[in-house]
């Protein structure tokens, strides 16, 4: 726990710093690295100001400090986290600059009773700080590295005894094997770090992965042949089976984030191995989005996924990927190649790859809901039945998928078969897949020579026969891939519907902080690359300031002033419902309703409700049942008794 706390603190602290020297601590074959340029971030929002926020003040208080600057970490210099997955061990490291070594040591000593410090550890010139068997930091030359090691399961199984002999002197004081194992991991972590500090001929900053970006902004991460190594080191046999699938994506990826006024900008670059890179470039290059597809989706949709690819190149890539992924694992490469050739002989490859145009638009328009009334049976203790009217809210996702077709006749034949076999039915000028358990709304299908439209936007489908489409789209991008998610709209809907305070605070944080996310590819770039933008609600302030303040507000609402805010939330909901009830016509009011409203008003004034606002939830349920007919009450009550006549009142379900 202490270890996690420490790691967390360091991570948070470094949210605030020319980090090239930290790269020297990371080997060239590290799979993952992330850099927080706290120096740049500090210019946007000084860490001294940030730490004055309630959240950080409370954290400092919990750690018995006046301010987190008391940690001794330099919060205005870069900070890094790296992952190095070797065949024997996975190393997780946090690297930071130290402003004051004495303060730093004192800070660690406060966090751990068993703190130990060895200066000039084994003549390295660095100080080793240890607390416990496997928690250690290497301090020196103005920087510190926390490094945690985790022996890979298989390596441990095969080499633990040998390791125990090698490290006998250092671990002999530990009684149990798990303690000895922890201690070995700690020692390996120390050796690894010291080895890199003494001699790292090819640090991470010299790798091709790092060189994807000439210049970095506030936050940058790099993935260096991560996928294949991940598959090799994860201790799961089933997962390892797929290591070849992962190696299909072997390569480097990096993303750089710059914090601007009102938006977080992202640039992403991908460099796969040459064969893969050439294939992917063939899939994407020269393609542009079929903007005409937009007329099938509303302008105010929640999210769209829009792409245009070369279907033949994609088909060829899939074939190669399959060979690459499954060859050697299930059957030999040679057999797999032969099988692919057999399939190619049997299937008209050109015909298959020309079925569709490669243009696809998927849109999520939002959640639609319909309220329906139904009668439910209820009985009393003498089993006399009565009908009660209940309301059932049926929600379904409204979505539209538009697929460009090259071979309409092929799909028309499938459609005809389905029509003849009554799997599709005619409805309002389009075809309908009937509602079912998994798709409550059913789904409509419209097809013409150029495209197929699958949708639950039934109004749009019905309008197609009259030639009516959605208008007003203005998507001015020259790209072959585009994703757009309206975060604010989505979370706004969730927040308005939520009656749970904990959920509501998160939804409210999301809707009041983030506006929308846009990601698109850069087709003119000879390298695979994409750019993105996370737009904030506050367009005038730097995204870093907005985010840090929003996180602080969330913390205050959820932790420091939880009760007050929860009371406010529930009382607002109740007052809204009371107003709704009072606006009802006399015939829709009832004695029970009047009583619940009266009880709600009294509860709002009570000290108990302010102390325990959770109790107000039940009042909301009661009011909703009376006003909206929502069914929170058990549907059946019955008088229970056994066959000997012994009777007892119970409430079922």
């Amino acid at each position: 726990m202490k270890k996690l706390t420490l790691l967390f603190i360091i991570l948070l602290a470094t949210q605030f710093n020319n980090a090239q020297n930290l790269f020297d601590r990371i080997p060239h074959n590290a799979e993952f690295a992330i850099q927080f340029n706290l120096d740049k971030m500090d210019k946007i929002y000084s860490h001294k100001k940030v730490l004055k926020n309630d959240m950080w003040k409370k954290l400092a208080e919990d750690m018995d400090m006046k301010s987190l600057t008391g940690m001794g970490i330099d919060l205005a210099k870069p900070f890094m986290f790296s992952v190095d997955l070797t065949d024997s061990c996975s190393y997780f490291s946090v690297h930071a600059h130290v402003a004051n070594e004495k303060m730093f040591y004192e800070f660690l000593a406060r966090q751990s009773k068993n703190m130990d410090m060895i200066k000039d550890y084994k003549g390295s010139g660095y100080t080793l700080i240890k607390s416990g068997r496997s928690d250690q930091a290497i301090l020196g030359k103005g920087t510190v590295s926390f490094i945690f090691a985790d022996l890979n399961r298989q390596y441990r199984r095969e080499n633990l005894e040998y390791l125990m002999e090698v490290y006998y002197e250092e671990i002999r004081d530990y009684e149990y094997e798990y303690q000895q194992r922890d201690a070995i991991e700690g020692l390996m972590a120390i050796e690894r770090t010291l080895g890199l500090l003494k001699n790292n001929p090819k640090p991470f900053s010299k790798t091709d992965c790092f060189k994807l970006f000439d210049k970095t902004n506030e936050v940058t991460f790099w993935m260096n042949k991560l996928y294949s190594q991940l598959a090799k080191t994860i201790d799961d046999r089933e997962f390892r089976q797929f290591s070849n699938v992962f190696s299909t994506f072997e390569g480097y990826q990096a993303a750089d984030f710059s914090m601007d006024k009102g938006a977080l900008n992202m640039e992403m670059k991908m460099n796969f191995e040459k064969d893969i890179q050439d294939d992917i470039l063939e899939i994407t290059q020269g393609r542009t989005l079929k903007k005409d597809f937009l007329k099938y989706i509303p302008k105010d949709r929640m999210a769209i996924y829009f792409m245009s690819i070369n279907p033949k190149a994609y088909y060829n890539w899939i074939k190669k990927s399959m060979v690459h992924s499954f060859g050697g694992n299930m059957i030999s490469d040679a057999s797999l190649n032969d099988m692919v050739e057999i399939i190619e002989t049997l299937i008209d490859e050109d015909a298959i790859s020309k079925l569709v145009s490669g243009d696809v638009l998927m849109s999520f328009n939002g959640i639609e809901s319909r309220i329906t009334e139904y009668k439910s049976s209820r009985y009393n203790e003498d089993f006399e039945m009565e009908d009660v009217i209940r309301k059932e809210e049926t929600e379904y996702a409204e979505f539209t998928i538009v697929i460009g077709l090259n071979n309409y006749k092929f799909f028309e034949k499938i459609q005809n078969i389905m029509k003849r076999e009554n799997l599709l039915s005619e409805k309002d000028g389009y075809l309908m897949i009937p509602p079912n358990r998994d798709l409550k709304s059913g789904m409509g299908i419209h097809m013409n020579e150029e495209r197929m439209i699958l949708s639950t936007d039934f109004d749009m489908l019905a309008n197609l026969k009259e030639g009516k489409f959605y208008e007003g789209h203005n998507l001015d991008v020259n790209s072959n891939f585009y994703v757009d998610a309206r975060i604010q709209t989505f979370f706004n809907q969730l927040a308005e519907e939520s009656n749970r305070y904990s959920e509501y605070t998160f939804y409210d944080f999301m809707r009041s902080t983030f506006d929308r996310l846009v990601i698109m590819s850069n087709p003119n770039d000879k390298q695979l690359s994409a750019s993105g933008k996370l737009e904030m609600i506050d367009k005038k302030q730097n995204v870093y300031i907005t985010f840090m303040n929003a996180i602080n507000n969330l913390y205050v609402k959820n932790e420091l002033k939880r009760n007050e805010n929860r009371y406010q939330f529930y009382s607002d909901r109740i007052n809204k419902l009371i107003k709704k009830y009072e606006a009802l016509s006399a015939d829709k009011k009832s004695m029970k309703g009047d009583e619940v409203v009266k009880a709600a008003k009294e509860a709002l004034k009570s000290k108990e409700a302010k102390g325990e606002p959770y109790m107000l939830k039940e009042i909301i349920w009661g009011l909703e049942e009376i006003i909206d007919g929502k069914d929170y009450e058990p549907e059946y009550y019955h008088h229970d008794g056994d066959h000997n006549g012994h009777r007892e009142e119970i409430k079922e379900e």
């Binding site: 319909r370 009334e373 139904y374 003498d382 799997l423 009937p434 358990r437 008794g641 066959h643 006549g645």
Partner: protein
């Protein structure tokens, strides 16, 4: 009723419906029956389905067709000796289907039960003796799984038709002394018994609802 149920449930409506069977032996000497299927919770889905011609091999009956079928059934029930005032109704606003009527004795009631079961079926079954009432002992029986739609219909089974609620209710003019089924409850006034189970239980073991009721 079973025909209706099968059709309507075949479209994925495998949970949360109610079937309520009420047999009343009233103090005034009258004897009435009522079978009610309530699919109201699925109004949204049913409203969509009812507009379609067919789903797969199932032709979707229109409201008028369903009403016409119910009228035919009503006619058949009223022709049974010992049955009067039989009525088959459909409420498409709430999707409630009801068959009610009066019976002279349980033999007539068994004929009603068999007629409903055989309605619209090619293979008719002989008289199902689902009820008996002799010497102040009432019995509700489901002996043969073949006579139970839930046990027979593999479509319903395959579609995990499990959560429908079944309520079997009987009222008597006299006090109930004992019931043989541990799951059967006696009302507070001691004059009614209720057996509840899910469709899944009924499919697995039709005798779940079997109960012998001894009266004072």
């Amino acid at each position: 009723m079973k025909y209706l149920l099968i059709i309507l449930l075949s479209f994925g409506l495998h949970s949360c419906f109610d079937i309520i069977e009420e047999i009343n032996f009233n103090e005034n000497g009258s004897k009435t029956f009522s079978y009610k299927i309530n699919l109201g919770k699925y109004k949204f889905t049913l409203d969509n389905i009812i507009k379609l011609d067919s789903i797969g091999k199932f032709k979707i009956p229109s409201e008028d067709e369903i009403r016409a079928d119910l009228n035919v059934l009503q006619g058949k029930l009223n022709k049974i000796e010992g049955i009067s005032k039989a009525s088959c109704t459909a409420d498409f606003e709430y999707y409630i289907f009801k068959i009610t009527g009066s019976f002279k004795d349980v033999h007539a009631l068994n004929k009603v039960y068999t007629e409903i079961y055989n309605f619209k079926r090619k293979e008719k079954v002989p008289l199902i003796e689902a009820y008996s009432f002799e010497n102040k002992v009432f019995e509700r029986r489901e002996k043969d799984p073949k006579t139970n739609i839930f046990a027979r219909n593999t479509f319903l089974k395959e579609n995990q038709f499990t959560e429908g609620k079944i309520m079997i209710l009987a009222r008597f003019p006299n006090q109930v002394l004992s019931v043989s089924n541990l799951a059967t409850k006696i009302s507070k006034n001691g004059k009614a018994v209720l057996t509840k189970c899910s469709a899944a239980q009924l499919m697995k073991k039709p005798s779940t609802i079997n109960c012998q009721v001894k009266l004072k």
